[in-house]
């Protein structure tokens, strides 16, 4: 038996005490691992959102808000300026319009309801009598021309057929699922719009009732059909990173002047991400706290063990054991307890990391999610009126629910590192204490 095997054997010398120490360490290590997984998963989601949603900048004609307001269409020249701005990686141009009953053979799938009627009513003078009448509103179908259909409806929302090329000038379209059902449309069917025949290339289901009553076409096709060559009602520019969004917005404001309203989704995304950042921060605190707790557990345990075995240490030194040998023996003992606790803890961590991450996300994102849901129903419908289907808030709300906790090799390595750190910190002071035990003490207590 050598010094290492003695240390390992001593670790299990008192089964009840060793069991209690191992259990406490296991909980501590399990918590470290679960918190590391939670932090890593949440950070991955934050980075994903920042790299996608938080990099988008919306440029609208000045004065437009939702489906109402004033302002002139954006121009191709402005698109060029935006595309040429530093840190812009892509620009999506959109033209939105509506199909009234005389513009199409389609029947809208929506009934207006009191809210829709209020939005669509308008006033007119009746025969110059001065009397103002309110005409009965007619449900309309929104139609969106875009240079990038994926920015409006992603490919995973297409339930049949395929997406369309935003740069095409053909009369082709993606049709919302309820509108298609209402008009018995399927892939390959045709319908009329602004006097032209349009072929259905795909059916999409966005999950939003208003959006699913809409049509998406290539930008150039809609511009031609509506006789608005070059007209753009909205642009979405994408910055190369969320860090550059503020600078890009500033540069665009300088170059485009007051003819446009420029808004970025950075702030909205930032606000929406705040709960996730809180979770990441909380998880980091948890990691540090659990690691400290683990180190304190092993430290106090080893201090207690060393105090209890002072005489034994004195005897070992008296019969020729060096300080180094005794310290190695006790450090092995601490390391054995920590490793056993660590292995059990890793098992606990693997089992608990998923539920813990979900619990943290759920408990920290309940309020924002509720708010976002409200926005999706309110603002979403107004934006949908102008043809913009994509909604940052609802996307983030969905994102929160799709955080997957993953135990990566890096996290595993970090956990093992924390375990070793716990063992080293936990046995450093006892080692110092061992070195101070004078072998003469063994005779003084005789």
């Amino acid at each position: 038996m050598n010094v290492i095997s003695r240390g390992v054997r001593n670790a299990l010398r008192s089964p009840v005490r060793s069991g209690a120490i191992i259990l406490m360490l296991a909980i501590s290590v399990g918590l470290v691992l679960a918190m590391l997984v939670a932090r890593s998963s949440v950070n991955a989601k934050i980075n994903e959102v920042k790299a996608t949603t938080a990099t988008q900048i919306t440029i609208n004609p000045a004065g437009i808000q939702g489906g109402v307001g004033s302002g002139d269409d954006l121009t191709a020249e402005q698109v060029k300026i935006v595309a040429g701005t530093a840190h812009i990686t892509g620009v999506t141009s959109t033209l939105t319009d509506q199909l009234g009953s005389t513009d199409t053979n389609l029947t809208p799938s929506l009934t207006l309801g009191s809210f829709g009627k209020r939005q669509q009513r308008f006033e007119t003078n009746d025969g110059g009598s001065g009397a103002i009448q309110r005409k009965m509103p007619i449900p309309r179908t929104s139609i969106t021309g875009t240079s990038n259909p994926a920015s409006v409806v992603t490919s995973d929302k297409i339930t049949s057929g395929a997406t369309i090329d935003g740069d095409s000038s053909d009369n082709i379209a993606l049709v919302g699922t309820t509108l298609a059902a209402k008009n018995n449309l399927s892939v390959g069917s045709t319908f009329t719009a602004f006097g032209a025949t349009v072929t259905v290339k795909g059916i999409f289901s966005s999950g939003n009732t208003f959006q699913d009553n809409g049509i998406i076409m290539p930008l150039a096709s809609l511009q031609t059909l509506t006789q608005q060559p070059g007209a753009i009602s909205s642009m979405t520019a994408t910055a190369d990173s969320s860090e550059n969004v503020a600078g890009v917005v500033s540069a665009l404001k300088n170059s485009l002047g007051d003819k446009v309203d420029i808004t970025s989704q950075q702030e909205e995304a930032q606000n929406s991400l705040a709960p996730l950042e809180n979770i990441a921060s909380l998880a980091l605190t948890g990691v540090i706290g659990a690691a400290i707790a683990g180190a304190v557990i092993i430290l106090l345990s080893m201090v207690m063990i060393v105090r209890e075995r002072r005489r034994e240490i004195g005897v070992i030194k008296a019969i020729g054991g060096t300080n180094a040998k005794v310290i190695v023996q006790f450090m092995t003992e601490a390391l054995t307890l920590t490793i056993i606790g660590g292995i059990i803890g890793l098992g606990i961590g693997v089992a608990a990391s998923g539920p813990m991450t979900r619990s943290l996300v759920d408990s920290n994102t309940n309020t924002p999610t509720t708010g976002i849901a409200h926005q999706a129903g309110g603002i979403g419908s107004a934006r949908g009126f102008t043809g913009g289907f994509r909604q940052v808030s609802s996307q983030l709300a969905t994102n929160f629910k799709t955080i997957n906790s993953t135990l990566t090799p890096q996290i595993f390595a970090s956990s093992v590192g924390v375990i070793l750190l716990i063992a080293i910190v936990g046995s450093a002071i006892p080692a110092w204490s061992i070195a101070r035990v004078r072998p003469a003490e063994v005779l003084r207590t005789e």
């Binding site: 038996m1 050598n2 010094v3 003695r6 054997r9 001593n10 010398r13 005489r311 034994e312 005897v315 070992i316 030194k317 008296a318 019969i319 020729g320 054991g321 060096t322 300080n323 040998k325 004078r438 072998p439 003469a440 063994v442 005779l443 003084r444 005789e446």
Partner: protein
């Protein structure tokens, strides 16, 4: 073999300086069995600590085979304790979670013996001090006081030390067992030509040793048989 010259040890205590040993000098020849007697507080344990390199003297020298052990580095003192000294304690001081055999093997490990040689050597020593094979595998708590002291003696002899320091080796044993242990030590000092210095209260035992030293208030008087 063992020469102590003008050994002094003082401690700083709250009430002032304590002179545990004052100008102690004596000499023990190789193979002699010497005893130190004295009342409690006379400095016996302090002297044993200094001779075993467990503590350092305030002044004076301790020559073991012409080497002043008090001048050795901590590491060399450990090696000295492992190879040149054997300790026998009144309360045996065996490691409780190791068997009798493993306790002896522990001393052999510190003495630098290769691992594969240790079990045979330890078993042989334990057999010599009277432990059966079955008893050798028992942990100290399952051995009687006399058996534990025999294990302690075997451990002290493990590395064939030139000096064995025994602190009240029979103090915790009944008279019959105590006599047997003393006889064992005596025969070992003869057969192994090992110098033994034993601290004892028992004047009968002291009377049977080759030399007797008396400590009183830290000062030594030398008696001869």
């Amino acid at each position: 073999m063992l020469t102590v010259n003008n050994l002094t040890k003082t401690f700083e205590a709250a009430h002032g300086t304590v002179h545990a040993l004052h100008d102690v000098s004596f000499h023990v020849e190789t193979g002699q069995f010497a005893s130190i007697i004295g009342k409690s507080g006379s400095g016996k344990t302090t002297l044993l600590s200094l001779l075993g390199a467990l503590d350092t003297p305030t002044s004076g020298e301790i020559l073991v085979e012409d080497i002043d052990i008090s001048k050795l580095s901590a590491h060399k003192q450990s090696a000295y304790r492992a190879r040149k000294i054997g300790f026998i304690f009144q309360h045996y001081n065996l490691i409780p979670n190791l068997s009798a055999l493993e306790n002896v093997m522990l001393a052999l490990e510190f003495g630098g013996m290769p691992a594969y040689e240790r079990p045979d050597r330890a078993a042989k020593l334990l057999e010599e001090v009277g432990l059966t094979d079955e008893e050798q595998l028992r942990k100290p708590t399952r051995l009687s006081g006399g058996q534990q002291q025999r294990v302690s003696i075997a451990r002290a002899l493990a590395n064939r030390p030139s000096l064995i320091l025994a602190d009240e080796p029979t103090g915790n044993l009944d008279s019959v067992t105590g006599k047997k242990i003393f006889d064992l030590l005596h025969s070992l000092s003869r057969s192994e030509n090992t110098t033994i210095l034993a601290v004892t209260h028992d004047l009968d035992i002291a009377g049977k040793t080759d030399r007797t030293f008396t400590l009183k208030d830290g000062t030594m008087t030398i008696g001869k048989k």
